[in-house]
């Protein structure tokens, strides 16, 4: 079973590798940012998949990743606003 999990995880790794193309090509920054988003999600999945082979601690790593994976994107959308500290939803948009 563990083998199956690892195969699945390997495939996920390759999936992310494919997505690097999007990060490299863009064209917009949002596109690139999505790459990071995908990597975080895939990372959580991979950690979950390999956790049965190790300690439950790995799930905590996944948890942390799940919690903090989105933060870079938040920083990005804020920084992308006019003064760098706004909110894309503000009326000024």
């Amino acid at each position: 079973m563990i083998e199956a999990y690892f195969f699945a995880a390997t495939v996920l790794l390759m999936t992310v590798a494919v997505c690097l193309v999007r990060v490299l090509r863009g064209p917009t920054r949002a596109d690139r940012m999505m790459g990071a988003q995908l990597a975080a999600t895939a990372g959580v999945a991979i950690l979950a998949l390999i956790s049965p082979a190790g300690s439950p601690a790995m799930l905590d790593v996944a948890l942390v990743l799940a919690l903090l994976g989105a933060f870079a994107a938040v920083a990005f959308v804020k920084a992308a606003t006019i003064d760098g500290a706004g909110d894309p939803e503000e009326e000024s948009q």
């Binding site: 919690l67 933060f71 870079a72 920083a75 990005f76 003064d83």
Partner: protein, 316 residues
Amino acid sequence: MAPAFSALTLFDVVLCVLIIGVALCSSSVRDLFAATVLLIIYGVFVAIAWVRLGAVDVALAEAAIGAGLTGVLLIGAVARLKITESPAAAVSRWQFAAKVIPASLGLLIASGLAYLVLTVEWRETLQAPVLANLPDTGVLNPVTAVLLNYRAYDTLLETSVLFAALIASWCTTHDDLWGERAGLRQHTRRAGILATFGRFLPPIGLIVGIHIFWAGADKWGGAFQAGTIFAAVWILAIMAGVIDAPNATGRSIRSFAVAGPMFFTFVALTGVLAQSFLIIPVMVAKPLTLAIEACLTLSIAATLMLLVLGAPRRSA
């Protein structure tokens, strides 16, 4: 022992190739923003690599710092500064040399290290004494035992590094902005998506952080990981406009940032009563360690939060 070639090995090899690939891309891609995003992705995979190496504590730290906080730090700056590489700078002979020499040096070092990795017999002799003395440290997590007992002095200096970096980063502000709130003046749409996210997630983060802190003593995690998580959710709340960023002149935030190292130094100094330094008596090892960790966690959280927000800055 794992068989010669299993799915695990395959996974490891693919992971390593991927990490190297991401690093290469990050180093060679023209667009700076892409390079930054790639660094975040890199952080995620390195965290997975740490898990594979059985270093959960490091994995936690890498996940929280490498994939989380560093991303916030760099992406925020890069995206805001709108710095990109110059499309085509004049190519000169020197520029060619400026790539070839580092490349050959990098290659040399990499291959040298690889050669060493494969040929030298490596030794790890400290694991046994670490475990043997564990009962005296009051904690069950050997990594925490090393960080807060065997090599607590490292940790003391390390928190000082954080503290120094904080003051240092404050030092980069404009003179007339001294006393303003850290970073840019954050504002969001009231009850918008960001604001709501910033109201909703921090309590969850708080629990996760406390869990990591608590688990740190006996299982995995610890002050740094927990502190990073706290810092991250704190920053989120600030970025979401839910709470205000503190200002450097505020007494309370200063106390917050200083409390951990101060308590730690104080404990260290009480060691002179026993003609030594930084002694954690076995009798009170667990509570004392936890107390130090708790103070450190709070200070690390505050410090990292302030570091990521940066010095007070003018809005564009």
